[in-house]
């Protein structure tokens, strides 16, 4: 019989349903791709600050798209309006989808009201990367910082996001902290909402 078992053809690609897709990707494949991304950007810049900025920009694009996808797929098109809501969304849902686990911890900064920190023992993107001594404090986690910034910006919480290594006593590898510093308007709005 003709036509049996054929997938329904959609006239417009926008009408096709968003499927869940494969939830797993080969870690090695991603590691090689990310390594190439870093190497490519290294050839284009003169200094480390530029390299960090480029990785962040690459992550920003990912973050914006991840927010749209997750809002549609996982949150039923509901929008976060509160600070803690969006932070726990990033800390759990976004991390779960991107890295397969929730982030290790979410903390509020003690010195400033507008600072929050997401910590991770070892970022997935840094799993195979050893930074040479002469690159100082450079952290390929700038890519992840960019993703977080993309998500927050798209959700209406503009912030400056950076990735830092925090040395831990008793451990050979330092912990990574994503530092989120929200813009003034976010805090004013949050205060108004009560």
């Amino acid at each position: 019989m003709i036509g049996v078992g054929k997938v329904k053809q959609y006239g417009n690609v926008l009408d096709k349903p968003l499927n869940k897709g494969k939830t797993e990707v080969s870690l090695s494949a991603f590691a090689f791709l990310f390594s190439e991304l870093v190497q490519y950007n290294q050839t284009q810049v003169d200094n480390i600050g530029e390299l960090e900025r480029r990785l962040e920009d690459a992550g920003y694009a990912v973050g914006a798209r991840v927010l749209e996808l997750l809002c549609h797929r996982d949150k039923g098109n509901r929008r976060e309006t509160r600070l803690l809501g969006i932070l726990s969304f990033v800390h759990s849902t976004v991390w779960k989808v991107l890295f397969g686990k929730v982030a290790d911890s979410l903390e509020k900064g003690t010195e400033h009201e507008d600072e929050y920190m997401i910590s991770e023992k070892e970022l997935l993107v840094n799993k195979f990367i050893s930074i040479p001594k002469d690159m100082g404090t450079f952290n390929c986690g700038a890519f992840v910082a960019g993703i977080v910034r993309g998500v927050l910006d798209g959700a209406g919480f503009p912030a400056v996001v950076t990735a830092h290594f925090v040395p831990m006593e008793g451990q050979q590898r330092p912990r990574t902290t994503i530092l989120i510093k929200f813009a003034e308007e976010v805090l004013l709005r949050e205060a108004r909402l009560g």
Partner: protein, 141 residues
């Protein structure tokens, strides 16, 4: 007691890219290690020609009275070899494991240039951990 003395990794053109010394005896200076590496590379290549049957993949084991030398060559021509006490077991699986560590922590590192000496902190850390784990068998302690 069986113990490992040293570990070498050489690239496909015969240059030494990694050397680790475990024994207290038989310490060599840098120039000597470079010479040993290129010597071994040439011997390995010559052995492939010497074979009376075709399809020889090179020397895998060299036995002398005071040491054994096990060699593992990857498909890409990178050679991993270890000098150890005669009769040490499971060096082959150790070399294959070192190859796995190499593909993980060296080749996936964006700051490593192919065929250059290995200076990756994670590679060193994991190598030390795995040799320590088998310390009784490998370090003779």
């Amino acid at each position: 007691m069986a113990a490992i003395y040293s570990l070498y990794i050489i690239n496909k053109s015969g240059g030494l890219i990694y050397y680790k010394n475990y024994g207290s005896a038989g310490r060599m200076d840098t120039n000597d290690t470079l010479r040993v590496a290129s010597l071994w590379h040439s011997m390995h290549a010559i052995s492939q020609q010497l074979s009376p049957v075709s399809g020889c993949s090179g020397i895998e084991l060299l036995q002398a009275d005071t040491f054994d030398l096990h060699c593992f060559q990857s498909l890409t021509g990178t050679k991993f070899f270890a000098v150890c006490e005669p009769g040490t077991q499971q060096i082959e699986s150790l070399l294959k494991y070192v190859y796995e560590l190499y593909t993980d922590y060296v080749l996936k590192n964006p700051f490593y240039e192919i065929e250059m000496p290995i200076q990756c902190e994670l590679f060193d850390m994991n190598l030390t951990q795995s040799v320590q784990k088998d310390r009784v068998a490998l370090l003779g302690q």
